[in-house]
Amino acid sequence: MTAVAITGLGSVASCGHGRGALELALRESRVDLVEIDRDRGFHLAASARHAARAAVTDLSPWLAPAASRRMSPPSRLAAAAARMALEDANLAMSPGAEDRCAVFLATGYGPSSYTERILEQVIREGPSSASPMLFTESVANAPAAQVALLERATGANVTVTQLEAGALHAVARGAQELVSGRADRVLAGAVEELSPLLHAILDRYHALVRPGRGGEVARPFDRRRSGYVAGEGAAVLVLERAADAAARGAETLANLEGWSRAFDPSAPPSGWGERPERTAAALKRRLERAGFDLGTTDLIVSGANGSRRGDRAAGLVLRSAFRGATLPPVVTPAAMLGAFCGNTLGAAVLAARGAGFGPTPGFEEIDPDLGIRPHDGSPLPLPRRVLVESTATGGAAVWLALGRPA
């Protein structure tokens, strides 16, 4: 496969913006939560109260206020992260380059606050009250379209919606666009907005960790995990063919060496399946078909986030895939950054560069069914290959293989 380089990372997360803030939060195991607005009465009395919301209030360094005013919250997050990524890659769009720039962006729930607002208009005031501006920005592909508008990216523009796994799907497809020669650069990643309504709904599904013993702490892979902390943010990568990146003297953050994708059809729409062996076998087979040897993995960046069933599925898939071998160290960025914010992807890029990770917050006791002890903060060897995994609600599963730059 033509080598694909990741040369830029833009990030907006609960810890702030940019890869510096992300790196610091992961190293210090910092969990930055804010209280969610429960005033609308959507939440149950015992609900979760906190979330890892995007902590950047002023996006003007990356997004002009005049443009921002026309955007929904996730469009703003995506546009700012994309600009950050391009700046991080030291990449200016030269004339003509825009035709060869593609955008592959994922979102799980789309622009949830604008969707809520337009639906509320329709419900309370009748169908003819709907605002055209709200409608335009309520579509799932609004963030990707706004990124393209701002960056004049006239290559393929694709919005992937596969819940937690969307970010990795988007990166894999973006890389494929480069390998096939249909694009020269790709902006790929994910964005998620966390509205109070979405938070309340996730809580009603018992997906979120609620106040109780130890507080609202997600405990990935812990025996007593009881849910995740909902996250918000955006992570956008700049992808280029490695030869192109080298030719322009760009710093490579990580190399994308392969990917594989599968689905567990036994999973219910709001849950996870019971056939981890089959999913693991499919993922492993497809990754090996792409020329990647799983045995060369020395760090796993897992999307596990404290979900009881989700972490179980992720853990059993990993256990099955690495059967007969020692499971490499596992880091779980969602313990710090929340679920559904795209920044597990950002953390994975930093991991491939050898970023330090602090101990997994809240982890106390190994789940005997999984036997996975997430990273305890001890120094990690500089990884040669990092496996990034996402085992999503509903059954989708994606792996990416990242390599440390030479």
Binding site: V122, N141, A145, Q162, F263, P269, S270
Partner: protein, 408 residues
């Protein structure tokens, strides 16, 4: 990674305003009738238009709901029904390994979300079953297909508004060529809901009458619902399985206008780029194209921009190329439009007939298109066809399909 050469279409499925089968879609399109009728499923008072193309009630002959499918949204049901037909035609058994699902959609089960929010706002949330939300995520229809037919994936959902279905078919092509899957169930599904109905009315993008693609007095689109599914697989694999290919998927292209969130580029620059990209992907010169199944929504801006795009790619030949649009017959299926149009295009190639473009009135003199009107027009069964999809946010997609031919 293994790679395949030619990609065959071996199965078709469709659910539309004409009914729950691809056969009903095709007979409806050939007849020149329209399935755009007064809306029955929701309140249209105070709106610009009162007509839509709704999928009729499920036939009693359909398999009963399984326990797992009881929470299916309409979009899920359309998707599963279309996939069932497509897989049956392709002789693709449930549980076949290495089959991926590539799906497009823009609403999924949001109608359930609308009911949930209504209950929440009225304060009766405690009595509202969360099950209303089970099919809300945009990935629900594609996931439902994989679940219904025990497919181990990958499952990948695209939600790029009205280009979603074509993009999904294009991504399936990429995955087949890359050897990621042995076979693909590709398509899209969308169901009508208050959000899209109110939103398109708010944009004043809808025609009060059934839409009239490319006509002089066109005044907007008509909304529709339904699903289109194609089974795709390597040509040689199909022959080895004893399955005769229905058509060939030669190429896919995509682009973005990067011009405006709702209005197309006035010269159709993005659409032209997507068409050129698809032709390049197919290894064909524009002269190879025999007819066009256009996006043709019936909005003043879209149809003109699309004509400019055809002119930019095909030059003077643009006015000689037969062009048709499904939208006057079944409305605009949004996220599944590109998928059902790919199905209709394959049906044209199989029958050697281009279906007429439903709608009243003379063709816009500013658009020099050779619109197929009134009766079906003959075309070679080995013809090459272009299908276009142009979306909100400027996302464009194009597919190149060809009839059965040993010559390619």
């Amino acid at each position: 990674m293994a790679s395949c050469g030619r990609v065959a279409v071996t199965g078709l499925g469709a659910v539309s305003g004409f009914g729950w089968s691809a056969a009903e879609l095709w007979s409806g399109l050939l007849s020149g009738r329209t399935a755009i009728l007064p809306a029955a499923r929701f309140d249209t008072r105070g709106q610009r238009t009162h007509v839509v193309s709704e999928v009729p009630s499920l036939p009693s002959s359909f398999p009963p709901d399984s326990a797992r499918s009881r929470r299916h949204s309409r979009a899920d049901r359309f998707a599963v029904a279309a996939a069932r037909d497509a897989m049956a035609q392709a002789h693709l058994a449930p549980g076949t390994p290495e089959v991926g699902v590539f799906f497009g959609g823009s609403t999924a089960g949001i109608a359930g979300g609308e009911r949930f929010l209504e209950a929440l706002l009225s304060g009766s949330a405690g009595r509202v079953p969360l099950g209303l939300l089970a099919a809300q995520p945009l990935n629900a229809p594609g996931d439902a297909v994989a679940r219904a037919f025990d497919l181990d994936g990958p499952v990948e959902t695209v939600s790029s508004a009205c280009a979603s279905g074509s993009l999904a078919v294009g991504l399936a092509l990429r995955s087949l060529r890359a050897g990621e899957v042995d076979c693909a169930v590709a398509g899209g599904s969308d169901a009508l809901c208050s959000l899209t109905y109110s939103g398109f009315n708010a944009l004043r993008a809808v025609d009060p009458e059934p839409c009239r693609p490319f006509r002089a007095d066109r005044a907007g689109l008509s909304l529709g619902e339904g699903a289109g599914v194609l089974v795709l697989e390597p040509w040689e694999r199909a022959l080895e399985r004893g399955v005769r290919p229905l058509a060939e998927l030669l190429g896919a292209g995509a682009s973005c206008d990067a011009h405006h969130m709702t209005a197309p580029h006035p010269q159709g620059a993005g659409a032209a780029a997507a068409i050129r990209s698809a032709l390049e992907d197919a290894g064909l010169d524009p002269t190879a194209v025999d007819f066009v199944n256009a996006h043709g929504t019936g909005t003043p801006l879209n149809d003109l921009a699309e004509w400019h795009a055809l002119t930019a790619v095909f030059g003077e030949r643009a006015s000689e190329l037969p062009v048709t649009s499904t939208k006057g017959a079944i409305g605009h299926l949004l996220g599944s439009a590109g998928a059902i149009e790919a199905v209709a295009t394959v049906q044209s190639l199989l029958a050697g007939l281009i279906h007429p473009t439903s709608g009243e009135g003379p063709v816009d003199p500013a658009i020099g298109v050779d619109l197929v009107l009134g009766a079906p027009r003959e075309v070679g069964r080995d013809a090459v066809a272009l299908s276009t999809s142009l979306a909100f946010g400027g996302a464009n997609a194009a597919l190149i399909l060809a009839g059965w031919s040993d010559r390619r």
